[in-house]
Point group: C2
């Protein structure tokens, strides 16, 4: 049983152990066991188990949605969204969030021990997919005795999982909220993911993926990967407003130190990220995003993924998100319309870029509240 | 005298040597001598020296505009633009292009020998600016006996040099064509440049910048820098059209090889780039771009950079260029309008992104031809 994160720190929270009697079937064809699923919950499951919301986290997120992060001490990534009277109201809903398969916060990933060898998996860990992540979550939902989730919600890669849930297990999902995501990783998204992977792979301390065996860590490569990715999470406008060309010291130094505040900010993003994330997990999770293509899994027609669905959808995008632009959300909405699904679509006006889904955007929060209230009424949840 | 590029290959072409009797004054406060300026010319200078066009190259460009590259054998970067009867008509114009200061194709840069130590400059090379690059070009233009250039033209960082020429030496520039550029590097541009630099600096073979002394070369870091930058040169649409999600082998391999064509393409861009470019030059030239801020050099008001100008301007941008978007060109046009300059502005419809200025875009070429014809008439050049 894994109780430690990749960092070696003992992580708090719940664990589900999937044993050899029921291995996890993976899209690559392999079956994996044992598998640990690390998860957190907030609020209480009601008597008829009808108030459960599954939160799916993004590439570098984790299950610590609404409490201080056990490694960094920073607030949970959706802390403002979760709590009594908040959008994800812990007085009404039972919230579940599991670290994704391949992750480094307690759920089985490449830094964990391969029982066949007694050593860390490293690159022997199978390449996993968004479908595999969701299959692990399904086992957790089964374990919790929940027949039908009231809602599955998530942004970015979390939104991909939402779509996968709605497509694969429509009877298990009453409502679905895919946010700032797409039904397939675009060429540009794959390109940025590949730059990140190559930055890690180029670091000699990556050791062909075997750094856990040699006591090394490709911190420099991972930091560069994070820096490149971080630019894509912000809009040009947000970068301009936050930093512009403001200098750290008020004057150019004619050197390569961080003259500009935006440089200092990016370096900080890189150096803090490596304290909480595993480089091989970064490879595996970005690869899962690259592989995601819901239409391809359904004969090339996205609408086929949702044929006959009774799930209620709320698709949300942000105007300044250039990583998962609104046209990607619109493609999802068109597919849902083609099968006469119950779908609402909101493009939230925001200049904060992709990261808007993590931020306190009033229109975004109001949209979510309204949708959840309406869906709750249909589900017969008490107000 | 430098006759070799950073690669050690003897490079063809002309050299101007600036000796200790007239060192090059740099913006950082230092004076540099000796300095070599490596340049190419095409066509013939006419009797009254009124037909000279100075071409300014971009970050990773060089003076080999219209002939096979001496290191790669590939056609010159503007080969389609240059020749008898072409846009830059060698029957009419005398074309000059010099490798920029800090470069690695013959003009003095960090890979060259510091005469004070007898060893390569490496990070002892002073941090240079777009202004310094232009000051070196001015010396070349003086050397060629040209009082007034008929035109200064360039895209991207080349466009920054065009603006610097027009602002600093208005009497030396009859016409100016800044293409796909801006009057200052934006926060997002600085961010991408910084990611590239950090990728190089993270490579242990960079050796604190001293790799030329140790026989090493940070090829991996430089390749990652190039890959990240290359994404910014293309539009999302262009990446989608060129590659989409097309697979190399027709099927997912569930591994980290280049499953997708876009990955293979990016890796190729990285690996071929390192054969012709020096990592320290990449640091210095991107830094010069970061430092460029024409308004800041003129009391914070861009229009002040052009007060009283008699230069004829043609400002060109491309609709799908997100690295130097049209609004940056518009800011230049507004400043020129504010001082009643003679300026035309064309936003070329193209889905090819920033790289469109290097490609065979008919509307772009037609715009340039028309502008040069008109300016030539005013300058009294024979048709």
């Amino acid at each position: 049983m894994t109780v430690k994160g990749a960092s070696g720190v003992v992580l708090p929270g719940h664990r589900l152990e999937l044993g050899a009697e029921a291995p996890l079937q993976l899209d690559c064809g392999l079956a994996m066991a044992p598998v640990t699923v690390a998860y957190q919950t907030y609020g209480r499951l009601n008597a008829d188990k009808s108030n459960a919301i599954l939160i799916c986290h993004a590439l570098t997120g984790d299950q610590f949605v609404a409490e201080p992060h056990p490694l960094t001490g920073k607030p949970g990534w959706w802390a403002e969204m979760v709590g009594p009277g908040r959008v994800l109201d812990t007085d009404r809903y039972f919230l579940i969030c599991a670290n994704v398969l391949g992750g480094c916060m307690g759920t089985t990933g490449p830094a964990d021990i391969n029982p066949a060898t007694g050593k860390p998996w490293c690159l022997n860990f199978p390449v996993i997919t968004i479908g595999d992540m969701v299959r692990a979550q399904l086992r957790l939902v089964d374990h919790l005795g929940i027949d039908r989730l009231f809602c599955v919600i998530g942004g970015s890669m979390g939104g991909m999982q939402v779509l996968e849930w709605a497509a694969r297990y429509p009877d298990r999902v009453f409502a679905a909220v895919p946010i700032a995501c797409s039904a397939r990783h675009s060429a540009q998204n794959i390109a940025f993911a590949e730059v990140g992977r190559q930055a890690i792979i180029a670091d000699p301390d990556w050791c062909g993926g075997d750094y856990p065996l040699s006591g090394k860590n490709p911190h420099r490569g991972l930091a560069v990967a994070r820096m490149a990715a971080h630019i894509t999470y912000l809009s040009e406008t947000a970068l301009h407003r936050k930093f512009g060309r403001t200098l750290q010291s008020g004057a150019l130094t004619y050197g390569f130190d961080a003259d500009f505040q935006v440089e200092s900010y990016l370096r900080h993003q890189g150096s803090t990220f490596v304290e909480r994330f595993d480089a091989n997990s970064y490879l595996y999770i970005t690869r899962a995003m690259d592989y995601f293509d819901l239409a391809a899994d359904h004969g090339g027609i996205l609408a086929n993924a949702f044929t006959g669905t009774r799930t209620r959808f709320c698709v949300i995008s942000f105007t300044s998100d250039w990583l998962f632009p609104t046209r990607e959300s619109r493609a999802i909405v068109h597919a849902l319309n083609a099968v006469a699904a119950n779908v609402s679509f909101v493009e939230v006006e925001s200049d904060k870029g992709h990261d808007a889904f993590l931020l306190d955007e009033p229109e975004f929060h109001a949209t979510l509240s309204g949708f959840l209230d309406g869906a709750g009424e249909h589900r017969g949840l008490p107000r």
